[in-house]
Symmetry: C2
Subunit: 330 residues, 2 copies
DNA sequence: ATAGCAAACATTATCGTTAATGTCAAGCAT
DNA sequence: ATGCTTGACATTAACGATAATGTTTGCTAT
């Protein structure tokens, strides 16, 4: 276009004999700029290939129109499905998404520094933040929404599924399909929702007078699913409720490799219903929820705070209903 | 900390009776600042909870330390695996990753505007950019690397796998397992790598004197895999080479539902080997490559240009070797 | 004693955009 | 004709950090 240098407002201004401010306001369609001038500015901006510098704009306005999305791990279908929806909804409202991921050690203040230095307008996280993190966010009045992993002990907006009901429903399905000895493979008990799912399961067992074997509950934290699977296999377990579909699929794989028939010899229950977007060779019995609704609520909570329609300290813990999806594993 | 307002360099400066510049240089460990001063600055910065404003820094320095990652769709295991690796490598080098996704209409200049307005230092894309896009990037000297979808007609750094060899190897595996009538399910032929994979397949068929039925080649572009599958089923196809593992898994699902035995009645070949990170109930015969090496090369090409170690117009088309992974589908 | 120099910090200008005021001429009512 | 409004643009001052220069003090060498 103009031989290397990027086009700025001042370049347009000089070309037209106007000032930067007039050009800026013209492009933003402010009312105190003449209609004809606006038209000329828009045209020359296009001709000169002007691209707004949102860094400069952010600095001046104090808002970057960017939302941070925090994962522990990108390679998780459920997170990706949600992230995809979050991203497209934010995009439609003019917000960019910045990824922050790969934090095995949790959501610490160190990570927060990196996020805040980018001057994001808000944070949507799949990772439970530290108390210190929440404190810093609060003093800086940066909104944060915890997604998928509701934690009622934290003062933070949370949007999640009804884990208890999910655990209950999936257990019920396994019992209905003949399960007598049901195991649980979850994630570390520091993750509240894993505990809630297990609680739903034990309640269901009690209601149906099926015994609960606490030694069959596993909270994966480094050990391989394979090891756990083989332990369970030796213990005559006939059903496994898995924290999520990823674990369920892996369990299915080991079952198949060990020659265990699913569902006759082993019933498997998952959680998340990722098969709607990730086509699988088998159909899992799993727990589904209305993800669009969940994401819409998340975005709404976030943007309401970003735009200060909601006071910062007005926390909400939203739970969404779940339903069971019957597959070939029960 | 200090009651709401965010801490800036000038706040530290005032507290210590220094100037902003001195504080700035102290924090960046410049040589013209006294050791004792540096220490005092660092301490009060920590005490006051100073978080650098990288927006301001970016504006002044003209570099945002951010790389754009462009997808057509986030919900694709292969992209996720790669994105995860890209992200963590960039993060280790101090670069943030900004997601741009959901562009069904391709990588157009409109999207580019959004990316460039964010003043990213470079773009890593899984989507083939328009010619206009490349032209604008060139005038602005913004580096771009095309990943996974090498296109030799475009003047752009490309890093990809040896698609031809992959197509050849997978076809060879299907033939070895008894396939006589092999179909192909790819993506639209505007995507060069889909064509290259098919070319590898036809070459292999020729070498092994197995007939090629062009009517069995499909380039999915909206139709459902299910429809195509049933058409192929009616035509007595005994093997299907799928453009990627996602399609292969879906095909497997329909085969299972139709009662077709895999691999005896139907052989299935995939591409990408996503099962290393996504545990599947079955093991696919597929094409693998060294993803770490691919990503490392991508990052190297990118950062070398960002840091101007490589001239902008020095394009490279890097192909990585592939190998076959034998699964239960051949 | 004084030029010369370096260490350590201060001043000033700048990145590109935007908000808050200023200016000025045309149009209107009294 | 005078004052007042208002439309349309200009001026000035931020936003926070950093690069390019300045300034001061103390010390060394001659």
């Amino acid at each position: 276009m103009n031989g290397g240098k990027t086009v700025r407002l001042i370049d347009i201004a000089n070309r037209l004999g106007l000032t930067v401010n007039t050009v800026s306001r013209a492009l933003r369609d402010k009312s105190d700029i003449g209609a004809e001038t606006k038209e000329r500015v828009r045209n020359t901006a296009r001709e000169m290939g002007y691209i707004p510098n949102s860094i400069a704009s952010s600095l001046r306005k104090g808002s970057s129109k960017t939302i941070a999305i925090v994962f522990d791990n990108l390679v998780n279908p459920y997170f990706m499905i949600m992230a995809d929806k979050i991203h497209s909804r934010l995009d439609a409202r003019g917000y960019a998404s910045m990824i922050f991921a790969g934090y095995e050690g949790g959501f610490t203040t160190e990570i927060l520094g990196q996020i805040l230095s980018r001057k994001v307008d808000g944070i949507i996280t799949f990772l439970e933040p530290d108390l210190d993190v929440l404190r810093i966010l609060s003093t800086n009045q940066i909104p944060i929404v915890l997604l998928g992993r509701k934690n009622t002990t934290l003062e933070v907006d949370s949007v999640a599924t009804d884990d208890f009901k999910g655990g209950y429903l999936i257990t019920e399905a396994m019992i209905a399909s003949g399960a007598k000895k049901i195991a649980y493979i979850g994630v570390p008990s520091t993750v509240e929702c894993s505990v809630r799912r297990l609680n739903g399961m034990t309640k269901c067992l009690k209601d149906h007078q099926v015994p609960f074997y606490s030694e069959l509950s596993h909270f994966v934290n480094g050990e391989s699913i394979e090891q756990i699977f083989h332990k369970l296999k030796d213990s005559q377990t006939d059903a496994i409720f898995c924290f999520n579909d990823m674990i369920a699929l892996e369990v299915y794989r080991f079952a198949a490799e060990s020659g265990l028939k699913v569902p006759s010899e082993l019933k498997i229950g998952g959680f998340d219903d990722i098969q709607t977007e990730f086509k699988m060779p088998i159909k899992l019995t799993t727990i589904a929820s209305d993800r669009d609704e969940i994401v819409d609520t998340t975005i709404r909570l976030m943007l309401d705070k970003v735009r200060q329609k909601t006071p910062y300290d007005d926390y909400q813990y939203v739970d969404f209903d779940v339903r069971i999806v019957y597959g070939d594993t029960t």
